[in-house]
Symmetry: D2
């Protein structure tokens, strides 16, 4: 392992909790170089909703590479991009009656967010943005300024300005009416709140601790934005592509945000890809006003297209995700009752699930026990106090049972 320690920056993090060298992966399993299999309930932090090296996507990918399909194409027109656009239109936008234009903002989620913020500010002529407590939107300067985590913010090295955090749903456990503070500040011309260009929000906060906003809260936020002429940016980078059941995390709330950010699982196979969806009337950019080298990675378009075809031609995946999510919820409910003194809290929606412990040490200890038992999970939340489950949506019922059993054992080992 010495070349990693010798050459790689101390900023590396996942390798600290899982100190093995991984080599191969298939479906819900990832294998270390000595052949040990790990059940992966982490799934690339949400980038592998269709599992590792999904065979449908793999076939399409290898075929494309074998036939010398163009690999790198910036924002040129390509057959691969056309296939993706047509399929995205047919499988995703049209059935949901969503009217968006598509920006290819760069390879990752932070690019999708940066493009969204730039456009919202350009359109409105305002600089200020409202974000939410415990939000995570990325590490580039614009995205970081709307991210909550203080350690990550501290890395900026410049004051992060232009964003004001508002309480996410349930931040006060119901002690305050939804949006009371936010709307009062907006309506009071003496409040000192800079008039916002946009609100940026996650349907479910992943890094923030698997905080699932109630659908009516999302609807209420959408209404508030409309009342006050504020653009709503929905960051679905981690929670989109079916993670919570429907393709978009906001579908069941009955809203259509002005701007939607997608990345992580949109490429399907784990290759970098991102989209910023924008209402047509917001498409005021000059050609090239936002650009980037890795906006047109055709292999990712190919796997993205295949994933849409295989998994989003019907509602089976959505139903399965919700059903499996309920199984986890049920197990978590049992655990909450089994350990009344531990004050566990079950959180989440669909296959984004969390179990909150009293502190980060406990949650970390459970993940460590699980790792030793062959299960990968990470913690999230401001103090790492939430055990976070993001398994592939394609995992089998047996794999889910296996994982939940390991979780129960691991918790038992820690809480005794």
């Amino acid at each position: 392992m010495s070349i990693f320690e010798e050459l790689e920056s101390e900023v590396r993090s996942y390798s600290r909790g899982w100190p093995v060298v991984f080599d191969r992966a298939q479906g819900s399993r990832i294998y270390s170089e000595d052949g040990k299999a790990y059940l992966d309930f982490f799934a690339g932090a949400g980038a592998l909703n269709y599992g590792h090296n999904n065979p449908y996507l793999k076939k399409a990918l290898v075929d494309y590479i074998q036939r010398d399909g163009v690999t790198h194409a910036l924002d040129m027109f390509t057959v691969a991009k056309r296939d993706f656009l047509e399929t995205f239109q047919e499988k995703i936008l049209a059935p949901r009656e969503l009217d968006y234009k598509i920006v290819f903002p760069g390879p990752g989620g932070a690019n999708a967010v940066e493009a969204a913020l730039k456009l919202a500010r350009k359109v409105t002529g305002k600089e200020s943005v409202i974000n939410f407590t415990n939000a995570f939107h990325g590490m580039t300067l614009g995205a970081l300024s709307v991210t909550g985590n203080s350690m990550k913010r501290g890395g900026a090295g410049v004051p992060l300005v232009h964003a004001t955090p508002m309480p996410y749903d349930k931040y006060f456990d119901g002690a305050m009416p939804d949006f009371m503070y936010f709307e009062k500040l907006l309506e009071d011309s003496g409040s000192g709140l800079n008039e916002p260009a946009a609100v940026i929000v996650e349907g479910v906060q992943g890094e923030g601790g698997i905080n699932a906003a109630r659908l009516e809260w999302l609807k209420g936020l959408d209404d508030l934005c409309k009342r006050h002429n504020i653009l709503l940016i929905l960051d679905d980078v981690q929670m989109g592509c079916g993670r919570t059941g429907p393709f978009f995390s906001f579908e069941d709330a009955g809203i259509s945000p002005d701007i939607v950010c997608l990345s992580k699982s949109i490429g399907g196979y784990g290759l970098p890809m991102a989209l910023t969806l924008i209402k047509p009337e917001l498409d005021v950019w000059e050609p090239g006003e936002h650009n980037g080298t890795f906006r047109g990675i055709s292999p990712a378009f190919v796997t993205a297209t295949e994933a849409l075809r295989v998994y989003w031609s019907d509602d089976e995946l959505e139903k399965s995700t919700k059903a499996k999510g309920e199984r986890i919820a049920s197990t978590f409910k049992d655990l909450v009752e089994r350990y009344p003194e531990a004050n566990l809290v079950a959180k989440g929606r669909g296959l984004a699930r969390g179990l909150e412990f009293a502190n980060g040490d406990l949650a970390g200890a459970v993940c460590k026990e699980a790792f030793e038992r062959g299960l990968l999970m990470e913690t999230s939340g401001p103090d790492g106090e939430v055990m976070k489950l993001l398994p592939p949506l394609t995992l089998t019922d047996e794999e889910l049972s296996e994982g939940l059993a390991i979780i129960e054992e691991s918790i038992a080992a820690v809480l005794k």
Copy 2:
């Protein structure tokens, strides 16, 4: 072509100059769906130094995918990353006696720049950065703030602060001694210049107009930074990986910058990948203080590793790049003399070459003529006045001859 026009944002740009749909590509050629071949002197804006779908890299890539090597791995330890680190150490760092630690900052060049700026500010406790006239460093908020182009800056929607531009080499055609203004401001405690954390510079400015800094200017900048205790960030995203001849654009200047940004061709095959190289003493990050979903794309590690093995085990590519560059320079010299009234200016180093026209309309017209003759080139410079050549380093002498002939014809058609 309607799905593009219907669904893709107006921000798209390359597709406007090259209104065909590309499908396949091999080496220096890219093919439209109707089978027309184009000689590619654009090469993914520098991301395809080894040509399209390079057969050595393709083989390694397909093998890796076929054997279910892990695809997406964040910053976990993987066999693919270990191979890359060992090979980068052996082929690149060790022979050049360069002592860097490696940050995997995210998938693209902007990520490499954002990480560099964050780290420089964190280490020094200062916010201000010096950039150069006509610099290009990326479109995310931190990278954009050190980029020169006013149209792109205008897209930010917030005032871009913390950066002060200084004149790049030859900005005044020698009318001012190098760094006279910069150093005077630094030495004068009343100058009003915020004390800078870092200087960020490109060895050759690509987007800015193929402005090749003299090596002694780069050396002088490095000396100045050392005298004033300022970190030097060398953005080699476009000009690294052999574009100017040696692996790094700064090698022949005899300097070793504090921080180096690499992306574009580092992955070899056009897949998103980026590195931020940092002097070991700068490695002060907390684990996870900078992160991102697409830091560990193993297929890119695989092709990156193979590219290093194939092309950087000896100095043949470097010699060939310099030789081909000289051929272009020679042709350009002829053109300058052939059209004395056009005031053409030949620019560049290695296989980053530019021919400056009196204005952007002329340069654009030449590129349009070339496209019609089957050659892809883009313009660069603040007004698009520079015809820019970034062919694959692997192009053959015949392809070079063919391309130069088309260029001569295209110029003749425009200048008459």
Copy 3:
């Protein structure tokens, strides 16, 4: 009146509500050039707590000028400054067991605030400051950034950053526990709130609508700041110098803020003067690090000193202020009851009193009626909905009766 309209900028405001030319003034009365007397319940927006041209101060002032006492002295040592310092120490600081060093920050309240903010940031190394809804701290860029009024903020022409507004006391009419939101954000490392250097607060918000914080709220704020190691800046520019009864508006809350801003009535006679009081351990400035031309206006020191001697050698003024304040409160209570449908709200403490109307038009109409009856009052609050009383503390009981009678008549004329 034409020279005003011809030459003075449209930014002028008071002259619009009181379109007469004033000439002389004495005590609680100000006279227009045609000899009409106005009872002044505005008192220089709080700068004339001891009335116009107070005879004690006038004598000291004329004597000083007549004997050629130095007028302008920057921060040189002068006899006038020494007298002021000794008297301030003896009459104000020592009896209250307050341990402050004194900065002479420049001539006005905004200078006192700018110096406070600069020092708080310098001491803590943090940029962020917490301000409150409907705060008013001044019009220079630093002070404006912590001011609430959106019209005034809009005048900055640059985004106002580094400040986050929190709800002032009673902002939600008791619907939220004090500081619940603020403290939750501070304690949650994922909240996205930049760690604040300081909190800046007014004991009673004057411009914001005569919002009088409860003393226990101020105490709670002080406790919170201590718990979280945040500096507390008390802006007593308008509410200090006895306006609410005691010399400082915060005395009865039993707190001693880290930094206190004084101006307006500190000079006594209406001449520009300001102080920033700082805890001795905060006195980390370099000589000259903050300076200004008008820090040492000796005539203001002379009248300031005399005011302290005459009015702050015993507690008579404080008692009288409280008693007169109660008289106003009693009248306001009657008015609230007399006009139940008008939903009037009585506000304030000491001789800072407000009567809130349903909207700014009504409050403005009442002030207009009062002006026509010979009484000067202004409106305040975000929409000008509060009729604001800041009479000289030295007004007689008869003058108070006279003024209250005019107010009753004016309200009757408007509400009918």
Copy 4:
């Protein structure tokens, strides 16, 4: 002296060089409390152009106070303000054919600058401002951001942004054509310079080291601003009111800036007062959009008006100032020649004069010697290397001779 040391902040500076307690002052003399007379070649840092306690102004002032003229009047209409406006129009604006509207921005020069910057940004919708090396414009956040001195900038505690320094006249001793760098950056759309709302400049830099811009440089700057549609703000706070001869420092350059800042000697007697003069077409403010408590200090209007009547009804003061300035210049020329090894440099215009030494220690030592001989002078320049003369414009020829003799002796004592 103990009460000063005990109670006054360490930020005090002038009292460190002149450790005596001053009491009275008259004309060019200021007296310590023990009766020692000092000849004052410092004159309130330019606030006492008409000398201490000028008898004409004193009489008008005392008369006004005695007759209970209104003292403090915010921006109400007053007889005192009307007299001032009429006189300023008659004596200053009309004869010079200057068409300005007048903003009363607050009591000091920093307020005049803050108002100027706010207005320029509001009118243009741009944030960026160009300032000059070694500029001094004040200590409030907006003014400080365009000030050069690094120690004073460091006091801000927040990054000072939105300003980019350009070289003031002679910054490179003629090695660069005037404005070459500035104009190149403006004309190059790739330069990275944010498009500026305004340029702010002093006609002669006082704090910066008595740097007198050539009149043709000022004219060139004005031309450049017109060419590029940039507002020109002339900060005449220290150099206006006749300091360089004519009332405005820019008159002889034949320009009329868009915005002019006046303070210091505009009040005449040393009382705080400031003006921002704006071209009528810039008067776009909302009523009250910029305000402040000390905008209408009538005693200052009274002495300001009297000063205009007495000193600006003819051109005697201007001629006398120029003549006395030439006398100083002549003496300085002799000194430069007398001490060839000291490399003294004579600087300035009118009665703003400087003698530059090799370093701040020498200049400081000369000022110390002068103080001991009864002459007050301060140093200026980035390292305090310039001995700065700002005597009252009203000093007699004898006083000038006396002062120059002390200077010669003091220099002799230091340089030997």
